[in-house]
Amino acid sequence: MSIQHPLTTPLIKENPLALRVLGVCPALAITNSLTSALIMSAALTVVLIISNTIVSLVRTLLPSSVRLIVQITVIASAVTVIDQFLKAFLPDAAARLSVYVALIVTNCMVLGRAEGCAMKEDVRTSILDAIGNGLGFSLILIVVAFQRELVGKGSLMGYQIFEPISQGGWFPENALVTLAPSAFFIIGVLVWAIRSWKAEQREEPDFKPIPLPRKEKR
């Protein structure tokens, strides 16, 4: 367990979403349908691979004073290109994800991997790290979206699994689960479950409660 493999470590042990709590915005916004979550996962993984590869290739040439500007420019360009491809070849999915594809730029996870891994490691490690982190992010997104779509709409990837009451079936759709806050609850439960399993992920409390002063007997 001491060797950190760039591909497998980010899956559970150092999951970008569950441990580092990065990229929560898309995880809240688009996980009410499994299809959206899968496309978002794929788009983010591709962006990660492109940005990690390019940043790792030019890492020795970059003056440190402008490295963040260059990283963000590379990420923003990759996201724009991916967004254009989605709009051309998967127009329905792009319409459903709307602005959230463009918002991958602001996903701290992409910049975090460019700065935290690609600026230090060779290209091969950086690509493996990008794939690993992409899969780790996708794993959480898919688990959350699976539950939200099934409980919220009784369907999976648009296919009706349970017939909802509103269409004459028996399944009570849970509207709360289709709203963004429910993703917070599910991610919270996932984080709790992972940290119960992997004790080393638990954080030290930021501060300890001050013990109440004892009542002194006079």
Partner: protein, 272 residues
């Protein structure tokens, strides 16, 4: 020149900007035709679904869909003048741009502005369906402010220009599970056969406050409420009442009722 010198930093940024803009603009330019075709396909599907001309199974190739769409009699109408035509080409006219263009749009008086439009285009792209030389259906675009954003859709009317033949909303941002029912087929199906007007110009049609009983008085002017989405339901009522009222399509529809339009000879030739 050291690695951290300002000149080197400037050069790095310049090279990055040029290379990245090359890739970004390249992808935008190369993919634009495919994206425009997607938009046209989407609009074709939306409009054709309301003309009743799609095959029953709904399976139709993209080419056949476009052919069918181009066979429709599309017109850019002038709703201020109640004219069934204008100088604009229906395939290139952009109603959304026109709504923001002071030359092509009018401000909606605040007393009339129940659908919170602000301005609306004077010109609208509508679609006519002919049958045996007579008007069979008319498909009209509608929009109005919903709970979170503008709702965009189409309504089609039967030849009496009063009975609703179908409705659809193709763009909205209503609350998932509540207001987004406006885009669900089972709710849209309830609109079919409902009526807009009785004897006067007043639009009686509205979304009810509960389920509509079949035999109840006024049932033919109502559709079922949207559970938990009162604001969306009121928005839908408002936009229908605006667009079919005196400031919307009302005058045009009145004129079409008074002087039934004839099928243009050119369109007749195309169809045969």
């Amino acid at each position: 020149m050291t690695k951290d010198s300002p000149i080197r930093a400037l050069l790095t940024v310049l090279v990055t900007a040029v290379v990245c803009s090359f890739f970004v603009s390249g992808s935008v330019v190369l993919l634009r035709p495919i994206q425009l075709n997607n938009k046209l396909l989407e609009r074709s599907g939306n409009v054709l679904a309301l003309t009743g001309q799609l095959p029953a199974g709904g399976e139709i190739g993209d080419e056949a869909l476009l052919d069918l769409f181009k066979s429709l009699d599309a017109r850019v109408v002038d709703i201020d003048e109640a004219e069934l035509g204008s100088e604009f080409d229906p395939y290139t006219f952009d109603g959304r741009k026109a709504a923001a263009d002071p030359e092509l749009s009018v401000a909606v008086p605040s007393a009339e502005d129940i659908a919170s439009l602000g301005r609306r285009s004077s010109y609208k792209t509508i679609y006519l369906v002919w049958k045996d030389g007579q008007l069979d259906r008319i498909v009209l675009p509608i929009r109005g402010a919903g709970m979170w954003s503008m709702l965009y859709g189409y309504i089609s009317l039967e030849s009496d220009l009063n009975t609703i033949a179908g409705v659809m909303f193709y763009e909205h941002n209503e609350t998932p599970g509540l207001g987004d029912q406006i885009a669900k087929p089972h709710w849209q199906a309830k609109w079919i056969g409902k009526k807009l007007y009785e004897d006067t110009d007043d639009v009686l049609f509205h979304v009810a406050e509960g389920p509509v009983a079949a035999g109840a008085s006024g049932a033919e002017y109502q559709v079922d409420a949207l559970t938990g989405a009162t604001i969306t339901a009121n928005a839908v009522t408002a936009l229908v009442q605006y667009w079919f009222g005196p400031h919307g399509y009302g005058p045009l529809l009145q004129r079409l009722r008074d002087q039934p339009p004839q099928k243009p000879a050119e369109a007749a030739g195309q169809e045969s």
